[in-house]
Amino acid sequence: MGLAACMAVAAIAVQSCGGNGSGAPGRDAGAAAPSGARRPDGSLARVRAAGVLRWGGDVQGGAPYVYDDPDHPGQNKGFEVDLAIALARELGVRAEFVQNDWSALVPSLERNTFDVILNGFEVTRPRVGRVRFSPPYYVFAARLMARRDDARIRADVNSLRGMRIGTLTNSFSEEVLKGHAEIVGYEGTEEPYADCVAGRTDGVLLDDIIATIYGVPKPELRVVGDLADGFYAIAGRPADEDLGVALDAALARIIASGELERILKRENIYNDRQLGLRTWSADDQRRMLGLSPAAPGQTGALGGPPPGAAGVSSTAPHRMTLGQVWMFIQGAGITLLLSILAMGLAVPLGLALAVSRLYGPKFVARLADLYVEFYRGTPVLLQLYVLYYGLASIIRLDAVTAAVLGLGMNYAAYEAEVYRAGIQAVPKGQLEAALSLGMTTPLALRRVVLPQAFRLALPSVTNDFIALLKDSSLVSVITVVELTKRMTIVAVDTRSYVVPGLLCAFLYFAMSYPLSILAKRLEERLARS
């Protein structure tokens, strides 16, 4: 035991030396630099010793990448499963899949949850700065789809100005669209096409594989054309150069032997775009990574972006710009607005529900009961999905309206319970006294019971509002860009979660803390009276 622990510590020490000591090698080797002069970093030895190559992906991404085998539930299937098995075999180890939320693959890679990412992980400029990409194992096209009856859209990115185009957040396609269209970001692959059918967006730009599975089956949509080629590649930690080099070589063998072609054919995704993989050169790799082709005598230097590349110019982590800070503040404004509107709905609706449950006719009370139990008993995320996507064929709400309604109706259920508790805590004698003066029950409730119940409920209501402020981040699933979403977008741009994360946390705090103070003051004032 003791010895093993010592060795583990030593291994980590060696590893971190390799990572921090020289900094650069990881990065320039990403451009397939010769590894002769490099000191071993122990990453390959570590994988070999463990006997396992752990690869990260998200089953939710679905076919044909990694998906639950319908014939063998609980087992994974997909071209990347086959590829991982082949790669591991080449290294002389076993492949082990690690399920991970797709949007958090990079942070998980960095904290060593697995050794590599292998899951339709596109080569994008922000990612090039953070992970080490192998040569590609698949070349895809960013494919534009639109409604069949919409003739305005052409297969030219410049024709998209002013149009709302759906795509996956932080994807290659999003990069292609940046500066050319109004981007509507999604987390899932079905929703962008559904929204396009519903008319909430004008088009969808996504990988051809995704378009074929999710977009093409929709009869309302047509393929407009392809805007750019993109690449799926294996992503590893820049510090794990040994492992990276070994995987590059393994991939090259798998491609050369025709095994990759067979794997891709099994899922019916092989096409002539893949022909270039067999002759992939170091220059191709540099171009893919957005580095300038190597000039003679100059190896591995970081170059500028390819001509015409918009936006961020450096692949290294960089500071947030003032513009991004301003975007954050706008995001905070949207969060606050959503929360206030949703609470503005939740409070009166909750009050009506509470009063119906306590004083309404049996039928109405029962309905209110059902409402509360239903909304408390199901996740708000699901409710948002149903409201925005599920009901799209019946009632087409825009995203912000759906967000306010969804959050408001959900919180109304909680408010109803809070008010009910408050009403029941008001002594019975208060209502009796009011009735004995000739008040009707509604008047007695309004003038006597509810004001006191509200005072009792105030701490809980404030609590709920602060919770709502944070829960409002859930509405990013229905394409509303609020504070948290803005944070993740900027974090990808700046290659770091630290500063955007802190700023985001600060803004939430700056909104909720004054509320806490205000509520406390109000409580004290009411308690005195």
Partner: protein
């Protein structure tokens, strides 16, 4: 002005009021006495509809309450409650309103009196119960005696034809009982019709015109206070008055 005819009420199997018939006249003070659980408070609460009953009827002037829930008697109930005020053992002042606010509440929101007029009236009433200096106080800032006097002013603000008082001094500290009884004596002298459930025998004897003894849900004694207290006819009354 209030006629109770063959009134019956049960809580489950237990008979709380059995076949009570009695008439209360205008301008008279009637005290209801008797052992706990005899049905005094329930009778009072039936009169302004805070309790329902199972048989018989209650008539206030031309308004009649019949067995059944509040919905059935809605119109009569609201009208009766405006004419018959109630004062509770536990005061039940609206805790979110000042003394003045408590007194103004019903005139403004039930009768539609203008706030200015209601304020004038409320001030006068608070003065009448000796609390003109406490108008801005909230219930929790007042003693029990003060709260009960505000409660009386609150009931009077609706100009009730009759006042129902449910053990108005039972929850008070002994040294606070006197100030409330003083107010009630003054009202009695002014000819205010009152039905008082009380355990204050001296008050009942001095201030009321008539005393009823309730026991087991029935009136077992009815007459002028001196007669009832000095020459009770029922042995239960003698036991209750300690004249066994």
């Amino acid at each position: 002005m209030i006629t109770i005819d063959k009134l019956q009420k049960k809580f489950g199997d237990r008979v709380v009021l059995s076949d009570i018939s009695v008439t209360f006249e205008k301008g008279k003070v009637v005290s209801l006495i008797g052992p706990s659980g005899g049905g005094k408070s329930t009778l009072l609460r039936c009169v302004n509809g805070l309790e329902t009953f199972d048989a018989g009827s209650i008539t206030v002037d031309d308004l009649k309450l019949e067995p059944g829930d509040a919905k059935k008697n809605k119109h009569a109930l609201l009208a009766i409650r405006q004419r018959v005020g109630m004062v509770f053992q536990q005061w039940n002042l609206f805790s979110h309103r000042t003394a003045l606010g408590n007194v103004m509440e019903a005139p403004v929101h039930v009768k539609g009196v203008s706030p200015a007029q209601a304020t004038e009236r409320a001030k006068a009433l608070l003065d009448r119960v000796g609390l003109s200096h406490r108008m801005g106080a909230y219930p929790h800032e007042m003693s029990g005696g003060e709260q009960q006097r505000v409660a009386i002013a609150r009931a009077l603000a609706m100009d009730p034809e009759a006042l129902l008082l449910d053990e108005p001094t039972s929850a008070l500290d002994p040294e606070r009982v006197g100030e409330v009884l003083d107010v009630l004596r003054k009202l009695a002298k002014e000819g205010q019709t009152m039905l008082v459930v009380t355990h204050e025998m001296r008050f009942a004897r001095e201030a009321s015109h008539r005393t009823l003894v309730l026991h087991g849900g029935a009136i077992i004694e009815d007459g002028p206070p001196e007669q009832v207290m000095d020459h009770p006819t029922h042995e239960r009354t003698r036991a209750f008055l300690g004249k066994g």
